[in-house]
Every structure is written in structure tokens, then in C-alpha cells.
């Protein structure tokens, strides 16, 4: 087998996987804080990327400004979504909440198509140098930037949950809402904050993917790819989400290579993570780092 090619594939996998990891983390954040399985996670990427693209093209803002405005917008977007749509559903059956997020997903897909059209739009060029050589490998600058951004976000998450007041409050709320309240933590505020952070972080991932591949409704597919990642890592584990994302990223690249070389089944890139998903559910339903629910019947 061609070793440099395999190395390149694994590297590509890690770069894409880091982004999956970032999206998976923001998915887990919502799940942990408010026990909502968010099927609209991919649309956070989509909305964020389109908003940023629109600011850069229609308003001709420089990238940094457009990016910051996008983040501010997504913060408000996340809070409003939680307050208007999810908060009234607190205490309703899980399936109602899931259906609401599925509805949100469809709504924002359609809204984005209506506002920005159905064709992929390229971002204005951001980096002056298209490619860089790192460790003897030819890497696209955007990929490198994406890896750096992903690492920074992960570091930020770690810092936030370990040291910040709100991170601590969120962990407390995830563990026991009643007790957290008795210690002065406002649970509604924690919920809103988790949605805001999740939306912002996903939007960053969306912008990165948009810069690489152009903005299109394909972005929301990341929300689906998150499921193999989080189920592999464990639904309620942030570390697991990152690892799951990386594994899924590498897996799809390697699967594509194996398919092209020997199997010729076609489209393994898209499908392999979901085969893995089914296998994991059969073997280790709580994932690598998930909490095992022990139920006595």
C-alpha cells in the first residue's frame, strides 16, 4: 500500500474529524445541560456560515469583523431559540422535544434556501497563501487554520468547564438541577447559555467548512455526522465527543480509500460512519466514555 497516501488520508481525517469533534462537543453540551437531543445542530453550522458569508459579500466587511458579528448574532440566536422554542417544552415528553428540534432543522434548512438560494457559494478568499508546507507535507492553509481553530475551541471548552464560574454551574446543573438551584444557580440561565455557546461554536465550525468547501445546505450534514461521533464517544462525555469526532473523520477517509482500492462498493465515505454507529450500538451502547444507566426493574 502507498504509505504517504495513507498518511495523507489519516491527516485529512484528523482535520475533518477535529471539526466533527467540535460540533459533537457543542451537541453534547446541550444534551448534558438540558437533556435535549438536538437534531438541528447541523443547521447551526448552516445559519452561522450563511450569515458570515452574507456579511462578507453583501456588506463587504473584512473577515474578522464579519466573523465577530456572526458570533454575536449566533449568541442571540441560541438564546432566543432556547427561550422561545425549547423553554416552553420543559417537562414535556422527550419525543416532543426531539420533534421540535427536527422541526427547527427543517425550518432553518428551508429558510436558508429561500434567503440565499440553493447553490453553493464560495467565501471570498481569506488567506493570501493557498498552500503551506508542514513537515514535508503539502497542506492547504485553510485546513491548517481549521485544525488550529478546532484545537483552540477544545482548549476553550476545557478551560471553561474547569475554571469558570459558569462552567462549574453547568456541570452542577447537568448533575442535579434541584441541588444546583439550591446553591443559587439559575437553571433557565444555564440552559440558555448552553444553547448560546453551542450555537456559537457550531457556527465557527460552519464558517471554517464554508471557507474550505463553500457554503451550501450540505453543511447541515455535519449535524448528522455528529451522531456516530457522540454515540461512539458516549452521549454525555465531552472528551468522548472529541475522540468520537476524530475517529469518525479518520474512519471515513480510510474507508473511502479501502473502497476505492479493493471493494468498489461506492460512497463508503458517507456510509462508513453509520455502519460503525450500528456496530457500536450493538457492542457498546453507552459509548467509550458514556455514563451507564443502571436500571433496576
Amino acid at each position: 500500500m502507498d504509505a504517504p497516501l495513507l498518511f495523507q488520508l489519516v491527516l485529512n481525517g484528523l482535520i475533518v474529524g477535529a471539526l466533527y469533534g467540535v460540533v459533537a462537543m457543542s451537541f453534547v453540551l446541550i444534551y448534558k445541560a438540558s437533556q435535549v437531543v438536538n437534531f438541528a445542530q447541523g443547521e447551526f453550522l448552516l445559519v452561522g456560515a450563511w450569515v458570515c458569508w452574507w456579511l462578507l459579500t453583501a456588506w463587504q466587511l473584512p473577515f474578522w469583523a464579519g466573523f465577530l458579528v456572526t458570533l454575536a448574532f449566533m449568541t442571540i440566536f441560541g438564546v432566543l431559540l432556547q427561550v422561545i422554542v425549547l423553554r416552553p417544552l420543559i417537562g414535556e415528553p422527550v419525543i416532543s422535544v426531539i420533534m421540535a428540534t427536527v422541526g427547527l432543522s427543517i425550518f432553518f434548512q428551508a429558510l436558508m434556501k429561500w434567503m440565499f438560494g440553493v447553490f453553493a457559494q464560495p467565501f471570498p478568499p481569506i488567506f493570501t497563501a493557498d498552500r503551506m508546507r508542514v513537515l514535508g507535507l503539502e497542506v492547504q492553509t485553510v485546513y491548517l487554520a481549521s485544525l488550529v481553530v478546532s484545537a483552540l475551541i477544545m482548549l476553550g471548552f476545557w478551560w471553561f468547564f474547569t475554571y469558570s464560574k459558569h462552567g462549574l454551574a453547568m456541570r452542577a446543573t447537568a448533575f442535579d438541577q434541584q441541588v444546583a438551584q439550591s446553591l443559587g444557580v439559575s437553571v433557565p440561565r444555564v440552559f440558555a447559555m448552553s444553547w448560546a455557546i453551542s450555537a456559537v461554536v457550531s457556527a465557527v465550525a460552519g464558517v471554517v467548512v464554508g471557507v474550505v468547501n463553500g457554503v451550501s445546505s450540505a453543511l447541515s450534514f455535519y449535524g448528522i455526522k455528529v451522531f456516530p461521533a457522540v454515540i461512539l464517544g458516549g452521549l454525555d462525555s465531552v472528551v468522548g465527543a472529541v475522540l468520537g469526532g476524530l475517529i469518525v473523520g479518520v474512519l471515513e477517509n480510510v474507508a473511502q480509500y479501502v473502497d476505492a482500492e479493493w471493494l468498489n462498493w461506492g460512497n463508503m465515505y458517507q456510509i462508513a460512519p453509520f455502519y460503525a454507529l450500528i456496530l457500536i450500538l450493538l457492542i457498546k451502547p453507552y459509548g467509550l466514555f458514556g455514563t451507564r444507566n443502571i436500571e433496576r426493574v
Binding site: 475554571y163 469558570s164 456541570r171 441541588v179 444546583a180 439550591s182 444557580v185 439559575s186
Partner: protein, 265 residues
Amino acid sequence: MAGPPILEAERVSLRFGGVRALTDVSFAVRGGEIFSIIGPNGAGKTSMVNCVSGRYRPTEGRILFDGQDVTRTGTSRRAALGIGRTFQNLALFGHMTVLDNIMVGRHHLLKSGLLRGMAYWLGGAQREELEHRREVEQIIDFLEIQHIRKATAGTLSYGLRKRVELARAIALRPKLILLDEPMAGMNLEEKEDMARFIIDLNEEWGMTVLMIEHDMGVVMDISHRIMVLDFGRRIADGTPEVVLADEHVRRAYLGEADEPVERVA
């Protein structure tokens, strides 16, 4: 000791569907006292405490804290106003360290928001953090849990976990602390330690204590005043001596019949 009332319950009733958990309960806790609620199982003690902490909303009646009507105030807001509590069943954040558990109790006192937190190294937040750490260390010293401050809470022994839970509630700097069976399941030595902590908390830290406890020896020893509940109604209140002598209490709670039963030696 006998300051003005810090907590007043006015004709509090609580119903769950057809079940009457509390009926027309009124009492006042004065600032600086240790006030205990006793009564048989299912008498409504924990329901009463939950009405005070904000977990339950009374169906009728009012709760006043520091002269302010808090009947409609949410739990987290009441905590910030100065009502701290521990739980009957251990409620520590099991995956977190002892220190993190206690730091959650400081939540409403930590002023640094997200942005200031990010500017951590610029000074302000750091100085604040140091102050908080100092106070947290004070609490840790007081409860004699120095040796476990970095331990994961879930791995500790039962007695220690109860102590950490108390530390977390104290970290809130409450004016009134609600203790729901602080000594349940403890051995004699642990009970004595806990009783000492509660007295010190009251005398040295100046906290008003509202406590539910089943161990009558402890309750009679350390309480200034006691209220007795039975079937959701207040049947007596007063100093330990008065309550012990009360006929209703003897009948309902201490299990004595109307006429003295002959003792079998």
C-alpha cells in the same frame, strides 16, 4: 440569641392532589437560633423545608424571609438572598472534587462574568478568586476536611460526604441554613462531630439554623426551640423542655399511650 424573626411561615398549606402534606402551619424562626422541626415519618417536615427553600410552592399561605415575602421567589434567587440547605439524601456532585463542590456554592458570590473571566490574568478576577479561595479554605478548616479537598466527592465515606455537603451550603454564606437530617445514618462519633459543627456554625459564624432531625438526644441538646409536626399539622412548639412535656407530643410522636404503659423490665 432571640433576635427579630428571620423566617416566618404564615398559615402554610401544601397539597398534592388529594394529599394534604401541610395544613395551616405557622411558625417563626428568630435570627440566631437553632430551630428544629421534629415529627414522625410523613409528618411533613421535609415538605416544610422544601417550601422554605423554594422547591415547593405552598398551596396557601406565605413565607417571609428577612421581612420580605418570598413565597413566589424561585429557588436560586432565595439561595442568593441567603437561604442555604443540605439534603436528606446525599446530593453532592459525585464526579467533582470536594473543592469544586464547594466552589459551586460560591456561584452567586463570584461576580466575574464570562468576559472578565477571560481577562483572568489581567488581575481583577484573579484577586477575587484568591479571596474566595481564602474563604473556602476557612470553611474547609472549620469542617476539618483539609485532607480530602482534592478528592472526588463520590469516593468519600458517608460521614465525610455529609460534611462536604454542609461545607458547600456554608460556602453560600447563608443567613439561614436548612439542614435536612444532618445526622441520618451516622455513627455516634460522627454525630457528635456534626452536632459540634452545628453549634459552632450557630455561635461563631452567626448562622440561624433550621434543622430536621430524628435523633431526639441531639435535637433536645442543641436546639433552642422545637416545632412538632404530625400529619402535616403543627401540634406543639417551644423550648425542648416545653415540647418534651407536651401531652400531644408524647402521644403522637414519642409513642406513649394516653395512660402510662407498664414497663416490662
